[in-house]
């Protein structure tokens, strides 16, 4: 695999990062923390490498983290705790699975390869998954990396060379 580009984004002042990107994407405001981080890091990566390098039919997205969308899940759980004031939030419910972030990215950039978000112990565990995925020969590119809410994201665009 050849690394085409890499982005490291700290999970800090993401709203400011969003403004600096100069992209108008209102859905950003509604995203949970994990999706904001993964989406922003991907946008920065694609600004760096250019979207023209992507083969939309043969680009996959593989992300992972240890805690996934735990922050959002706790927030959603909090909306259900009081049985006398029981109002589970649909907007929070939407983000109670971590692969929403990979789906958001795929939809926005019309990437039709597979998407996956793994919950792993550490970044090293992601490497064999990416290698095995690329070894299938079905993908030309992959947006891959570690996205840990509260910490940061490290994403790479790799190709099959």
């Amino acid at each position: 695999m050849k690394i085409i580009g890499e982005v490291i984004l700290e999970d800090k002042d993401l709203m400011q990062e969003y403004k600096e990107l100069g992209i108008d994407y209102p859905k950003f405001y509604k995203m949970d923390g994990l999706s904001r981080l993964g989406w922003l890091a991907t946008e920065k990566l694609l600004q760096q490498v250019g979207t023209e390098v992507l083969d939309s039919e043969r680009t996959c997205i593989i992300m992972a983290s240890k805690n996934a969308c735990l922050h959002n899940n706790r927030a959603f759980e909090a909306t259900m705790k009081d049985h006398n004031n029981y109002f589970p939030s649909p907007a929070l419910f939407v983000y109670t699975v971590p692969n929403i972030v990979t789906g958001e990215i795929a939809i926005e950039h019309k990437l039709y390869g597979e998407t996956a978000f793994y919950e792993l112990n550490n970044e090293d565990e992601l490497e064999p998954i990416v290698k095995a995925t690329m070894a299938t020969g079905r993908f030309k590119n992959a947006i891959v990396g570690w996205v840990e809410e509260g910490s940061g994201a490290k994403l790479r665009l790799v190709n099959d060379n």
């Binding site: 405001y29 589970p88 907007a91």
Partner: protein, 85 residues
């Protein structure tokens, strides 16, 4: 009624996490869905929950819900007439 409209705008911003948006930026007559604020189906569920939580209104009829959620003015009129809290 204007005060209720302002209150609803603030609740919409809070419920839908429309950071960066202010009450003043929401036009009472602008469509909430499609154009205007550009809300989606999940947002409509969130607004229905908001009506139940703060005003004791249970919107279960789809046709009525569509009319009520047309814009902030229609929402305020409905809340004013049907609120139980």
């Amino acid at each position: 009624m204007e005060q209720l409209e302002q209150e609803l705008k603030a609740r919409i911003i809070e419920a839908l996490n429309l950071e960066e948006m202010t009450v003043e930026q929401i036009d009472s007559d602008a469509p909430l869905f499609g154009e205007g604020l550009g809300l989606d189906s999940i947002d409509s569920l969130e607004l229905i929950m908001m009506l139940d939580k703060y005003y004791g209104i249970k919107l279960t009829d789809k046709t009525i819900a569509k009319q009520v959620l047309a814009n902030v003015r229609t929402l305020a009129e409905y809340v004013n007439e049907h609120r139980t809290k």
